[in-house]
Symmetry: C2
C-alpha cells in the first residue's frame, strides 16, 4: 500500500485543492436525480462518508490512478477568480480557512513527486462558553484512494491541530442520509448534537442578507 | 424610548461582554430542572429568542434598570483567565471572533455614559462552494431591554458586516424548542437547513479529540 502523508496545505497546493473541489462538485448528482430534497446542497462528504466508497457521488469520468487522473485534471483551469479567492482567503495575513492535504508519496525510484488525493478544510471558531474551537467544513478523498483510512487520518490531524491551538471542541456537520459518515463520526467519539440536543442550522442567503442590511 | 447604538466591540468592552455572558449563564436552569435533555448546552438565545421575553432563562437576581444592573455586575470579577482569553482571542493580530455590542445612549444631561445591554458574537467561516461566510455564534440582550428590536438590530448589523466583507451566507444555529427564535429567523429570511436538507451538527469534546490525536 502506498505511503500517505497528511500535512498543512501551502499556497502552492491551491491548484490541486481546487481541482479536487471541482471533481467533488462534478460528482454531485443533479437535484432532479436525487431521491430527496434533503440531498440538495450537500457539502460534507459523499453518501459514503466522502472517502469510504464510490457509489453515487463518486466523481464521473475520472479513471483510477494518480498520474492518469492528474492528466485529466489538467484540462480544468485553475486560474479563475475562484482560484485567486482560494489563495487570497487561505494564505493572506488573516486567513479565513486552513487546509490539510493528503498526499501519496512516491515509491523510491518513481519519477514523479507526491500526489495530492484529498483535503480537509477547517477553520477556527469561538464559543462564549468554551472559547477556541475548530470546525471541519469539508473533507474529501478521491474515490480510488478510499478504504485506506485517509479520511480518518485527516480527521485525526484536525484534532491534533485543534489541541495544539488550545481548542476544546471540534465540530462538523453531516447530512442525515449520510449514515456511513454519521456512524463513523460517532464511532470516532463525536456526539450528534441535532439528535441529542435539537440543534438546527439556519442560513441566510445573499438576498436575505441584503434585505436585512437594507442594501 | 432610549436610543440604541449597535457598534463593533473594542477591547475595552470585554469586561461588559463577559458580565453579560455570565448573566446569561447564570440564567440557565440546571439540567435537572429542564424539561428535556434537548435543552442541555443551549448556547444560542434563550427560549424567548434571547431578546424577546423574560420567561425561564431570564437572568436571576438582576433588577431592571441599567445603573442598578451595572452595580450588581461589578460584584462579578472580570480579571479571570476567561477575561484574559476573551481579550487575547478577540483583539489580537488574528482574532478568533468579532463582536457587536448594543448600547443604550444616555439622554442629554444624564450624568452616566452609554450602557452595554447586549452583544452578538460572530466570526468568519469558509465554504469550498461559496467562499467567505459569516457565523453568528451567540446573541444576547438583557431581559429588561427586550421588546425594543435590539436583537434584530444586531442581526441586521451582522448581515451588513458580512456583505461588506464579501460573504455570501450568514449562518447560525438554534435549538428546536426555541420556536420563537426559529420563527423570527425564518421571518427575517433564513432557511432551516436541518429541516430542509437534513443537516446534523456533530461535536467532538476534548477527551474524544485526545483519543483521536493519540494525546
Amino acid at each position: 500500500m502506498a505511503s500517505v502523508r497528511i500535512r498543512e496545505a501551502k499556497e502552492g497546493d491551491c491548484g490541486n485543492i481546487l481541482r479536487l473541489i471541482r471533481v467533488k462538485a462534478a460528482g454531485r448528482k443533479p437535484v432532479s436525480q436525487r431521491g430527496s430534497v434533503k440531498k440538495v446542497g450537500a457539502q460534507h462528504l459523499g453518501p459514503d462518508g466522502g472517502w469510504g466508497g464510490s457509489e453515487g457521488w463518486a466523481p464521473q469520468a475520472v479513471a483510477p490512478g494518480c498520474a492518469h487522473t492528474q492528466a485529466l485534471f489538467l484540462s480544468l483551469s485553475v486560474t479563475t477568480p475562484m482560484s485567486a479567492a482560494l489563495r487570497a482567503d487561505g494564505f493572506g495575513e488573516n486567513p479565513f480557512y486552513h487546509c490539510l492535504v493528503a498526499e501519496i508519496l512516491p515509491v523510491p525510484g518513481e519519477p514523479h513527486g507526491p500526489c495530492v488525493v484529498g483535503y480537509g478544510l477547517y477553520y477556527f471558531i469561538y464559543s462564549t462558553w468554551t472559547g477556541r474551537n475548530v470546525y471541519l467544513e469539508d473533507i474529501y478523498v478521491k474515490p480510488e484512494y478510499r478504504g485506506q483510512g485517509i479520511g480518518s487520518k485527516i480527521i485525526k490531524k484536525v484534532a491534533e491541530v485543534a489541541l495544539d491551538k488550545g481548542c476544546s471542541q471540534f465540530r462538523l456537520a453531516v447530512l442525515d442520509w449520510n449514515k456511513r459518515a454519521m456512524d463513523l463520526y460517532k464511532a470516532l467519539g463525536a456526539q450528534d448534537l441535532t439528535e441529542a440536543e435539537g440543534w438546527h442550522s439556519f442560513r441566510f442567503e445573499r438576498e436575505a442578507m441584503r434585505e436585512l442590511a437594507g442594501k
